[in-house]
C-alpha cells in the first residue's frame, strides 16, 4: 500500500522536475560543444559580464538593505510624523516595473532632459562644463533596481519585526541596551532569515533584469544571452552563458541557506502585547520622516508624476475597447498565475515540512531556482519541449489514428502560465516557507495529541497563523506577473496582449510619452494589491496582540 507520505514525496519530486524542465533543457545544451563561439565570448565580452553583474549585485544589495531594513524598522517600531502613512505607501514602488522607471528617469535626468536643460539655462553652462551624475550607467541601474526591489526586503523585514515578541525587546532594554543597540544586536539578528530571504529575492530579480540594463547600456549576462542567442545565433553558447548565470544564483542560494544553517528562529513565546512604538521627536522624527518620504518620492511619486504629465500633455493613446481588453488580459493572467503559484508553494512547503527527506529538500530547492533565470531563457526553455511534445504527439496520433492534433500546448496560455510558474514560484515559496518557519513543530504535536488530524490542524491552527504569508505570497506573484515582460512577449497566443507588452513596445520605440498610459495602468492596478498587502500585515499585527 502506498503511504500518504510517499505519494506526497512523489508529488513534490514530480512537480519540481516539471518546473525544472526548462532549466534542464537549457543546461542540456551544455553537452553540445559550442567551441568557437564560446571562445569568442570568453576572449571579448565575458569578463565584462561577470564584472558588471557582480558590481550591480553589490550596488543593489547595499541599496535595498539600507532602504528596506531602515524603513521597515522605522515604520514598525517607531512613531514619527507620517509613520502610519509610510507603513503602506512605502510598498508603492513595487507596482512600478523597473524598465519603466528606468525610461522615466532617463527622460528626466538625461543630458537632453528637463533637469539638465534647466540647469544649463540657469547657469549658462554647456556640455563638458559641469558634472552631473550620468543616469544611464551601472550606478544608475543599481539605483533604479534598488528603488524598485527594496519593497521585498521591506515587506519581509517588517513581517519579521512585527512578529517579534515584545518581551524579547523589553528584556534587551532592561539589560541596558539603548534603542540602537537593541536594533543591531537583538532585533536585526532575529530578523535575519527574513532579511536574507528578501535580499536574495531582490538579487535574483537583479540578475534576471533585462529591460533596465539594456536601456542603460550595461553589459551583463542577460544582455549577453540575448545577444549571443540572436546576434551570434548560437543557442548552445547562449545556454552556456545561462548556465554561468545559474551558477551565480546557486551560490546565492547556498550562501543564504548556510547563513541560517541549523539555527532555529521560532518564536519562543506567543505572549504578545500591542507593540509600543518608540516615539521619535524633534529632529529625529523629522529625519525619519524625511528618509521615508525621500524613498517614496524617488521610488514612486516622481516617476508616476512624470508619467502622468506625459500622458496628459503629449500622448496619443486613447482609452478604448482595445485598451480595456489589454487590462482584462493582464488581470486574468496575473490572477490565475498567483493562485497556481500559491497552491504549488503550499504543496511543496508542506511536503518539505512534513515529509522532508534529501530528495524533497533538493526538489524544492530546484523548484525555486527559476527566479534568477531571465524570462527569455525560460520562455525558450518552455517553447522547445512543449513544441517537441506537441509535434511528437501529433506525429504519433497521425500514425495511429490518422488524426492531427496540431499544437495543443505551445502557443496557448498553458505555456505562458507554466513559464510564469517556473519563474515566480520562488516568490510564493520563500514567503510561504518564511511563514511556516514561524510555526513551531511542537504545535503540530500538541494539535495531534488533542486528536485533530493533519488536515484539520492545517485548517484550524496553521491557516490563521499563515494568513498574512498567504496573502503576501498571492499579491507578490500577482504584481510580478503583471509587470513581466520577456516571457510574455515570446509565448503569448494570438490576439493576446498585456499592458506590459504594450508599454514596452511603445517605450522601446522611443515613444515614451505614449507608453505612459499603459505604464500608469500597470502601476495603478498594481497599487491595489500592494495596499491590500500592507493592510493585511497591519491587521495581522493587531490580531497577534490579543
Amino acid at each position: 500500500m502506498i503511504s500518504g507520505t510517499s505519494v506526497w514525496r512523489g508529488g513534490v519530486v514530480l512537480i519540481a522536475s516539471l518546473l525544472a524542465m526548462p532549466v534542464i533543457v537549457i543546461l542540456g545544451f551544455l553537452l553540445v560543444p559550442a567551441g568557437e563561439v564560446w571562445h569568442h565570448l570568453v576572449s571579448t565580452v565575458l569578463p565584462d559580464y561577470v564584472k558588471n553583474s557582480l558590481l550591480l549585485m553589490l550596488g543593489v544589495s547595499i541599496g535595498v538593505l539600507i532602504l528596506g531594513v531602515g524603513s521597515a524598522w522605522l515604520t514598525s517600531m517607531c512613531r514619527f510624523p507620517g509613520s502610519r502613512l509610510f507603513e503602506w505607501s512605502l510598498l508603492l514602488p513595487m507596482a512600478m516595473p523597473a524598465y519603466i522607471i528606468a525610461y522615466t528617469y532617463t527622460g528626466l535626468f538625461d543630458f537632453a532632459g528637463p533637469a539638465q536643460s534647466l540647469l544649463r539655462e540657469w547657469t549658462g553652462w554647456s556640455y563638458g562644463d559641469y558634472w552631473f551624475p550620468e543616469i544611464r550607467s551601472l550606478e544608475g541601474a543599481a539605483v533604479m533596481l534598488s528603488l524598485v526591489l527594496f519593497p521585498y526586503v521591506y515587506l519581509l523585514s517588517r513581517a519579521a519585526f512585527l512578529g517579534q515578541s515584545l518581551c524579547v525587546l523589553d528584556v534587551s532594554r532592561t539589560l541596558g541596551n539603548g534603542p540602537w543597540r537593541t536594533f543591531f544586536t537583538v532585533a536585526l539578528p532575529l530578523a535575519r532569515p527574513a532579511i536574507v530571504a528578501g535580499l536574495s529575492l531582490a538579487l535574483m530579480e537583479t540578475l534576471a533584469d533585462y529591460g533596465t540594463v539594456q536601456y542603460f547600456g550595461v553589459a551583463t549576462f542577460t544582455t549577453g544571452i540575448f545577444r549571443t542567442w540572436f546576434g551570434l545565433d548560437s543557442t548552445a553558447a547562449a545556454a552556456q552563458l545561462s548556465a554561468v548565470l545559474l551558477l551565480f544564483v546557486f551560490v546565492l542560494v547556498v550562501l543564504e541557506r548556510s547563513s541560517r544553517r541549523s539555527a532555529r528562529y521560532h518564536h519562543t513565546s506567543q505572549r504578545h502585547q500591542v507593540l509600543r512604538r518608540y516615539p521619535l521627536a524633534g529632529w529625529r522624527g523629522a529625519g525619519a520622516a524625511l528618509f521615508c518620504f525621500g524613498i517614496l518620492f524617488f521610488g514612486f511619486l516622481l516617476p508616476a508624476g512624470q508619467l502622468l504629465i506625459w500622458d496628459v500633455t503629449t500622448a496619443d493613446e486613447r482609452l478604448d475597447a482595445q485598451f480595456l481588453s489589454l487590462v482584462w488580459h493582464s488581470l486574468e493572467l496575473a490572477g490565475i498565475a498567483s493562485l497556481l503559484a500559491l497552491a504549488l508553494a503550499l504543496f511543496l512547503g508542506y511536503g518539505r515540512r512534513l515529509h522532508g527527506n534529501w530528495a524533497v529538500q533538493l526538489a524544492v530547492r530546484i523548484a525555486g531556482m527559476g527566479y534568477a533565470v531571465p524570462g527569455t531563457v525560460i520562455a525558450v526553455g518552455v517553447m522547445i519541449p512543449f513544441a517537441a511534445f506537441d509535434n511528437g504527439l501529433d506525429a504519433w496520433m497521425r500514425s495511429q489514428f490518422g488524426l492531427s492534433t496540431g499544437l495543443l500546448l505551445s502557443g496557448t496560455l498553458a505555456a505562458l502560465l507554466f513559464a510564469y510558474l517556473v519563474r515566480f514560484l520562488a516568490v510564493s515559496l520563500q514567503t510561504v516557507e518564511a511563514g511556516l518557519a514561524k510555526i513551531r513543530p511542537s504545535m503540530d504535536e500538541v494539535s495531534r495529541s488533542m486528536g485533530t488530524g493533519g488536515a484539520e490542524t492545517v485548517r484550524r491552527v496553521h491557516v490563521p497563523m499563515l494568513k498574512g504569508s498567504l496573502v503576501t505570497a498571492l499579491l507578490l506573484v500577482f504584481v510580478d506577473v503583471l509587470k513581466e515582460l520577456p516571457a510574455t512577449l515570446i509565448l503569448r497566443p494570438f490576439n493576446f496582449n498585456t499592458l506590459a507588452v504594450r508599454a514596452y513596445e511603445l517605450a522601446s520605440d522611443e515613444r515614451l510619452a505614449d507608453a505612459s498610459l499603459a505604464s500608469l495602468t500597470i502601476v495603478a492596478v498594481g497599487i491595489v494589491p500592494v495596499i491590500l498587502l500592507s493592510r493585511s500585515i497591519g491587521r495581522s499585527r493587531h490580531e497577534q496582540a490579543t
Binding site: R136, T223, W229, A387, I490, S508, E510
Partner: protein, 342 residues
C-alpha cells in the same frame, strides 16, 4: 483563502487553456510580426475591412519569433512572418521556415534587390541609415563615407546606438561585404574610439544627444528622424531641426539601406490569404500609408515619398543584395565585439 475556491479556480484555468472555438468557415490569416503593433495594426485592420479576412496577430522580437517558428515546426499556426530587417528574412529562409511564393499579376512592381529571387520573402518598405550632422558644427564638405568616420578629426563627436541593435549589425555586414573583414575591423576600432559616449539608448536618443551638444554626428534610421521632425512634441521637433541629412558614399557604392518585409511560412494553412495580405501591403494605399504616416520609403518606385523625405533629396543606395546582410550577420557581431563596440 478557502479550499472550496480551488475547484472554481481550476475551472477558470481549464477554460482559458482551451483553444478558442472559432467558426472554421471564417477566413483568417495568422501573422507573426516583428513590427510593433501600432505600426502594423492599422494596415491589418484595413485589410480585414476590405476583404473580410480576419487577421490574428502576435508581435515580438524577430529572433524570438523565428525560434518559435523553428520549434513549432510544420504545425506552426503562423501563415506570415513580418520583420524589420532583411537579415532576419534571410535567416528565416536559411532555417527553412519559409516557402517560395509567386505574387500574382505584375511581378515587377519592385526592384529585384528588394525581394528574394526565389520568392521566399518580399520587401514592404525601405529605410536608409544616413549620417545626420549638426548644422552649425559640421560642414557637409567634411563628410564623405561611413569609412571616413574613423578618422581622428571625429574624435568624441559621434553618437550611435549599441552593437546589439540589428540595424547597426546590418550596416557593418554591408561594409564587410564591400571592404572585407580585416579592413572593417580596423575601421571599427577607430570608429569606436570616436564615440562621444558609450552607446546607450535608441536612434532617437542619438539625435537628441546631438541636438543637445553631446556630439556632432548621429547615425539613425530615416523614419526615426522623419518621426521627430513631424512629431507633436515640440521638444522633439526642436531637436530634429538642428540636424541635417547627409547621404554617405554617393561617389562610391551608395548609402546603406534596409527593408521591412514579409515571408510566407512553410507551414501556412492559409497560404492564399497570406499572399493576398502581401499584395494588400504592396498596393497603392498601403504603400502611401508607409510613406505618409511612417515616414518610410515605399519599395515601389512609382509611389511618391512624403514631403519631409522629399526635402532630403534623392540619393544613391547601396545595391548589395540584402540577403548578404543576413549571411554576414554573425561575422558582423563578432567583429563589433572584438572592436569593443558595446
Amino acid at each position: 483563502m478557502r479550499i472550496g475556491h480551488l475547484p472554481l479556480g481550476l475551472l477558470l484555468i481549464v477554460s482559458l487553456c482551451l483553444p478558442p472555438l472559432g467558426s472554421a468557415a471564417e477566413e483568417e490569416v495568422n501573422v507573426y510580426s516583428a513590427r510593433k503593433e501600432n505600426l502594423i495594426k492599422p494596415l491589418l485592420d484595413r485589410f480585414t475591412e476590405e476583404t473580410g479576412i480576419q487577421v490574428n496577430l502576435v508581435t515580438g522580437k524577430a529572433d524570438a519569433l523565428l525560434k518559435r517558428l523553428q520549434s513549432e515546426g510544420k504545425n506552426s499556426p503562423a501563415d506570415l512572418l513580418i520583420t524589420t530587417d532583411a537579415g532576419r528574412l534571410h535567416r528565416a529562409k536559411a532555417s527553412g521556415v519559409t516557402q517560395a511564393t509567386r505574387l500574382p499579376g505584375d511581378d515587377e512592381r519592385m526592384a529585384g534587390m528588394f525581394r528574394d529571387p526565389e520568392g521566399h520573402w518580399y520587401g514592404l518598405s525601405l529605410r536608409a541609415r544616413p549620417i545626420l550632422y549638426v548644422r552649425d558644427k559640421v560642414a557637409p564638405a567634411e563628410l564623405s563615407t561611413y569609412e571616413a568616420l574613423a578618422d581622428p578629426q571625429w574624435k568624441k563627436r559621434i553618437c550611435i546606438r549599441s552593437s546589439d541593435n540589428i540595424y547597426n549589425q546590418s550596416l557593418v555586414a554591408s561594409m564587410i561585404a564591400a571592404d572585407g573583414s580585416e579592413k572593417v575591423e580596423a575601421w571599427a576600432k577607430g570608429f569606436v574610439g570616436n564615440f562621444a559616449r558609450p552607446p546607450r539608448g535608441g536612434d532617437r536618443d542619438q539625435i537628441k544627444a546631438a541636438a543637445a551638444g553631446v556630439c556632432d554626428i548621429a547615425i539613425a534610421n530615416t523614419y526615426y528622424f522623419a518621426a521627430m521632425i513631424d512629431s507633436k512634441d515640440q521638444a522633439q521637433r526642436a531637436a530634429a531641426a538642428k540636424l541635417r541629412v547627409f547621404w554617405p558614399d554617393q561617389a562610391g557604392r551608395g548609402t546603406h539601406v534596409n527593408i521591412s518585409g514579409a515571408a510566407v511560412t512553410h507551414s501556412a494553412r492559409n497560404r492564399d490569404n497570406a499572399i493576398r495580405l502581401i499584395m494588400f501591403l504592396l498596393n497603392d494605399e498601403s504603400q502611401q500609408w508607409y510613406a505618409d504616416i511612417n515616414g518610410e520609403y515605399p519599395v515601389r518606385p512609382d509611389i511618391p515619398v512624403n514631403p519631409t523625405l522629399e526635402g532630403w533629396g534623392n540619393f544613391r543606395m547601396d545595391t548589395l543584395n540584402l540577403d548578404r546582410l543576413g549571411e554576414l550577420n554573425p561575422d558582423a557581431v563578432r567583429l563589433m565585439d572584438r572592436a569593443g563596440w558595446k
